[in-house]
Every structure is written in C-alpha cells, then in structure tokens.
C-alpha cells in the first residue's frame, strides 16, 4: 500500500538556521509533490508544488527538491523565524484518471523555531 513518511514528528531549531524536512514515499509514482503548512485548528496552507520532472523549486526562503529515484523530497526553510513554527505536511497526488488531484498526506513534522 502507499506510504508517505516524514522524517520526524518534531524538529527544533534556532532562529536564523535552516530547517530541513524530509518526505519519503513508497509504492507510489506521484506526478506532483506538494508541501503545506498547518497551524493548530486551521486548514492546511499551500506552500510549494513540484512536478515529477522537476528537481528543485524555490519561493522566497523556501526550497523543495524532488528525487523520484530515491522517492524523496527535501523541504528547506532558510533564515528561519519563530513565525515559521507550524506543522509541515508533505502531500502527493497522481497525474491522471479519477484520482487526479486527490492528496495523500504524510503525518507531518512539527517545526519549532526558537528565538
């Protein structure tokens, strides 16, 4: 069965450092890999999407890489700030058919950035 694992349940770092979150998957060939941020009791917020034929994507302080051979994505937040503290969810989706668009989420990593 499809499985998505995010490297750790919790990650604590100091302000100004780079946070690196890992997402590994098995039994899946996703067309898209997405990262979302979720604050307690709120809906996930889309951050970045990377396609299966892309290696890297950047947006401001965020960077995501996608290695379909390793079946892994890395998500980096540079110059982290306490406001970046949240749960970060990795999500995969297929390329076509009736399952197009449906997101399968990892269990999330709780990031805490200490001042």
């Amino acid at each position: 069965s499809q499985k998505i694992e995010q490297n750790s349940e919790a990650l604590n770092i100091q302000e100004g450092k780079t946070a690196t979150l890992t997402c590994n998957y098995t039994n899946y060939s996703p067309a898209y890999l997405q990262w979302y941020r979720q604050d307690p009791g709120r809906g996930p917020v889309f951050l970045l999407l990377i396609r299966e034929n892309e290696k890297e994507k950047r947006k401001e302080r965020l960077k995501v890489t996608f290695d379909t051979t390793l079946k892994q994505s890395l998500f980096h937040i540079t110059a982290s700030q306490p406001a970046d503290s949240a749960t970060y969810l990795c999500a995969l989706s297929a390329s076509g058919g009736t399952s197009y668009g449906k997101l399968t989420f990892g269990q999330g990593t709780i990031l805490t950035v200490h001042p």
């Binding site: 009791g41 709120r42 809906g43 996930p44 889309f46 999407l49 449906k102 997101l103 399968t104």
Partner: protein, 114 residues
C-alpha cells in the same frame, strides 16, 4: 482575495444524529475536495467533485454522502453519527483547468459527536 468558506465552523451532535457541512469554493474553482482530520492525524481524503460530478472517492463511510451543486458549492451529509466521526472536516478547492492542482483549504468544520 476570496477564500474557501465552510459552515458551520463548529458543530456539536449526539450519536445517531445527522449533520450537514457546507463548502463554498473560491470563485471559478471547479473542483472540490473533502478531507477528514482526526486529532493528531493527517488529513484523509473523503471525496471529490469536478464540474458537479463525483470524481473520486476515498475512505468515506456509507453513512456519508456528498454532492456539488450548480453554483459549485458542496455539501457533506453525515448520518447515524458515531463518536469516531468527531474530527475536523476540511473542504478544499482547486482550479484544475490550470494544470496544477494546488489546493486551497477552508478553515474547517469542527464536528464533535457526544
């Protein structure tokens, strides 16, 4: 910018009652998804609609049904509620015609079944 609207935001029901959750997608988004998120869990896909037709179904109990209306809003109907149905229910919308499928989530409805 307009966001996804969900109502009600909070709902308390007794076991065996019914509940209806509503979702109003972002204007011009033609696809709606429903997800269920239990305490400490990741969101689980329930069902989706594209252009008012059901497009995919996940682990949605037979007690639940949903539809998308002509104005693209969607309703999730839940009957014979059980304690285990207590969760956050998110609706998300997406403009699939653009090719990418990033999803825009609503604030969620917190359902508590007593």
């Amino acid at each position: 910018a307009a966001g996804v609207i969900q109502s009600p935001r909070h709902l308390i029901k007794e076991k065996r009652e019914t509940a209806t959750l509503k979702c109003y997608p972002i204007p011009r988004h033609d696809t709606v998804y429903w997800y269920q998120q239990g305490p400490g869990q990741d969101p689980q896909f329930l069902i989706s609609f594209y252009e008012k037709m059901q497009s995919d179904k996940g682990s949605i109990p037979d007690r639940f049904s949903a539809q998308q209306f002509s104005d693209y809003h969607s309703e999730l109907n839940m009957s014979s509620l059980e304690l285990g149905d207590s969760a956050l229910y998110f609706c998300a919308s997406s403009p699939l015609e653009r090719g990418d499928n990033e999803q825009f989530f609503g604030p969620g409805t917190r359902l508590t079944v007593l």
